[in-house]
Symmetry: C2
């Protein structure tokens, strides 16, 4: 019996995690996902969390992993099952405090029902980096220090996961729009300036459900922006996937390091 | 005898300051500037600061105002006069510490020779705002607070003068590329999200030579980005010029406030 389930959002992560061992796949749609390795599909609705918990238990699932981007659901009140209806005041309160609070509360619901939450890196430890050089050459130290200082300063504000500096000057700070948007900003406004991007979790970010990620597109955008390299936090930034990221580094000449 | 001189860089500020009273105009070029109100032109070279101090003294100038953007000079060592040659070690050291340090040192040179440095707002107090509403309606308080918090956090790092937030989320943080580049980023990546931009000096910024500024282009870009309004620091952000800025607010419907 498969005791793991992956609660699958969009993107490549659910598929990559299935390579880490057998798991059932939960999606918030009737349609079975295009995930060949799945040990069965459990369709779910946000309005029927009671049914989802029941289906998971019947299937013998004890461990769940949230994987991939999920958009905030629109709920049809007529569809609510009894368990979900009873949870609505609590879920609505969490929703009012933002996406992070909602996610934390949904995780708590699973834990209260005895499920263990595993992070993506628990299923695929190879998707995060060990400390040290992953590709290329040493990064300009002053720029790394400057970008880190920006993230340190903004940490308590829960703003962004990435910052970039070149020649000692800050040329990009991630905001709501994300890392790729920041890199496109640098491509448009400060091309070819060299420098470094640092990406790492925000303080207090729950890595089991919300780990920063980079992919080959990140590497290509950083190279197009003229950066010399990227520093990620060892063990705390997903490479989606590792081979594709390292291939992109080899192709572009971008350096990639993982800081302890 | 006119005892004031404006050390004129590019942009509209030198012309606006001449409306505040008669002044000689110093430019780092042989060509007389197209500034009808000028009470005489003093051409200067960065390599001949000794000659500039002499010319200013002969002209009776006691007060100088730095106005408009000046690019970092490229110096021809063969052209150095004796006074400037003696100052080179000091100027080179300041240059190595960045533009702000260089500017502070150039100001100190003028002060050591007995010149008084006046800010643009000393010549034209109407170019900065009194506290309160300049145009439009009340700004969304949560977004103002969020943008201010970002600037507070980054203050010690000397990064940018502006930040923008919408619906409680940070959508733009000014970096080396400046305020307009940040607004273009929002136009590209988060259009129509509403919200507010806050612009104010960085802690320790010398307002006599380096005051933040907004112009009608800033207002139009902010409106194009879908922002509801802008908050500037009263007495500490130049409006270039005030009428054009307020006209742009009226035209776009953007709100503009000055925080005490």
């Amino acid at each position: 019996m498969t005791k793991r389930a992956i609660i699958a959002g969009s993107g490549s992560l659910p598929g990559l995690l299935l390579a880490g061992g057998p798991a059932k796949v939960v999606t918030f749609s009737e349609e079975a996902p295009d995930l060949p390795g799945a040990a069965g599909h459990i369709p779910a609705r946000f309005e029927k969390l009671g049914k989802l918990f029941y289906d998971l238990s019947v299937a013998g699932v004890r461990e769940v992993t949230f994987a991939g981007a999920m958009s905030r659901p629109s709920l049809d009140p007529a569809q609510l099952d009894a368990a979900t209806a009873a949870l609505m005041p609590r879920l609505m309160a969490a929703m009012g405090q933002g996406d992070d609070a909602l996610l934390r509360d949904v995780m708590a619901l699973f834990q209260e029902r005895g499920f263990r939450i595993l992070g993506a890196h628990d299923l695929r430890p190879d998707l995060v980096a060990e400390p040290g050089c992953l590709a290329g050459e040493a990064l300009p130290e002053a720029d790394v220090a400057r970008a880190r200082a920006v993230l340190d300063a903004l940490g308590p504000l829960d703003v962004g996961q990435a910052a970039a500096a070149a020649k000692g000057q800050v040329i990009g700070i991630e905001t709501l729009q994300g890392t790729d948007a920041m890199l496109r900003f640098i491509i448009d406004s400060a091309p070819g300036s060299g420098g470094v991007m640092v990406k790492r979790p925000k303080p207090g970010q729950d890595l089991r459900v919300d780990m920063p990620a980079i992919g080959p597109e990140t590497i290509h955008l950083a190279a197009e922006a003229g950066l010399a390299g990227i520093e990620i936090a060892a063990g705390a930034v997903l490479m989606l996937d590792r081979d594709a990221v390292l291939d992109a580094c080899a192709e572009t000449g971008l350096s990639l390091w993982a800081a302890p």
